[in-house]
Amino acid sequence: MSDPDPSRPATRTGPLADETAVVAAAISGDRSAFARLMEHYQGACYGLAWRLLGDRDLAADATQDAFIHAYDHLGAYRGGAFRSWLMRITANAAYDILRRSQRRPTTTLPDPEAGEADIPDPFGVNPVVESARSELYRALDAALRLLPEEQRTAVILADVYGMDYQEVSVVIHSPVGTVKSRIHRGRLRLRELLADQRELFER
């Protein structure tokens, strides 16, 4: 696994070059192989969890929960993109935490409108790469946080992480029709929120 080129913006984590073999080794009980997969995909899982939860610690907890669940259920992996499988598990873990935090609101999520938005820099410690794309991503993440939670969850799962309606429906325990409606309304609301920053999309 090579280090990302610091001069280029971070993007989506792609599959490992020898992912099929690594996954097979992990399924057969090789813990170091599983640890390698987790190390590789932790940014992807953490990103999804953070976008759903809006809190670093909760996102780290959700990611850890997802890793443990994945480790316990490796036998249920039936091929296909390992990243997608892991993303579904992470979405479930994050959504569970979201539900729990709403039932017991002892942990207050930061209010994005109160100026406490804690949006991580997707480019890590490389401020040099702050660019138009970076600005766009920051604007999108900030706008996502302003969406009503139900719409935000649906939009993140479908539009950001590419899940289909059925997959989103399973994660959030809602009918497909409801999922569609939330996604579409979320997109419209997002467009309104980004109305003043349209130039970012034209660069």
Binding site: Q42, T63, Q64, D72, F201
Partner: protein, 219 residues
């Protein structure tokens, strides 16, 4: 581009679906035809489409602190095979042993009289609230009672009475028979107590043998 249709604009949610390449929306001819001919709707779909593309490009994020894979803590070693059998056998053996010691102790002290059947009668009678079974009385003139009262369970205090030589009448013979019955009954209760104690010892052994995890944890 000019507006070619004066019909009402479609539901914005349909436009959002179209921007997201929703299959149903793409197959909706009326919708797609309208958008092609409507500047406002076309612009809206383009903007939504650009936003949709940008969302799909959002990068992964770096955790504020590196996450380490922590495999689930190993479960405490479960007793396997014979250890499991020992562990499961401990409780019933201990309960039975304790019950035998208690019942045998009460029986040996004469609580149930000299008639073994009285045990059942007393237990059932006591449990059902009825009167306890009547303990057999022993006519022991000149002796202390063998059961009941304050002398419960004691043998007749007739040291000079020779059962072997003085069994000429019907009364001495009856006394001898009663005493023998009493002695035999008491001995039976002693056996019961001894069996109970044995089971308690066995239960202790089972408890020790079935606890390897605790010993391992001390290391």
């Amino acid at each position: 581009m000019t507006m070619m249709f004066s019909a009402a604009h479609p539901d914005p949610e349909r436009l959002a679906a179209l921007a997201g390449a929703d299959v149903d929306a793409l197959a909706d001819r009326e919708l797609t035809t309208h958008v092609k001919g409507c500047v406002a709707c076309d612009r809206q779909v383009r903007e939504l489409g650009a936003m949709h593309t940008a969302l799909a490009d959002l990068p992964d994020l770096t955790p504020s602190r590196p996450l380490q894979f922590l495999p689930p803590a190993a479960e405490p070693a479960r007793p396997a095979g014979w250890r499991l059998v020992f562990r499961r056998a401990f409780a019933p053996v201990a309960v039975v042993g304790l019950a035998l010691v208690l019942v045998g102790g009460l029986g040996a002290s004469g609580q149930f009289g000299t008639d073994p059947a009285g045990v059942f009668q007393q237990i059932v009678g006591g449990a059902s609230g009825g009167a306890p079974a009547e303990a057999p009385a022993v006519d022991t003139s000149g002796t202390r009672p063998v059961d009941g009262g304050d002398g419960a369970g004691l043998l007749p205090q007739t040291p000079d009475q020779d059962f072997e030589t003085e069994s000429t009448g019907s009364e001495p013979a009856t006394d001898r028979g009663e005493v023998q019955t009493l002695a035999a009954t008491t001995l039976s209760w002693v056996y019961v107590v001894a069996t109970g104690l044995g089971l308690l010892v066995l239960a202790f052994v089972l408890w020790v043998a079935g606890k390897p995890a605790r010993l391992a944890a001390w290391r």
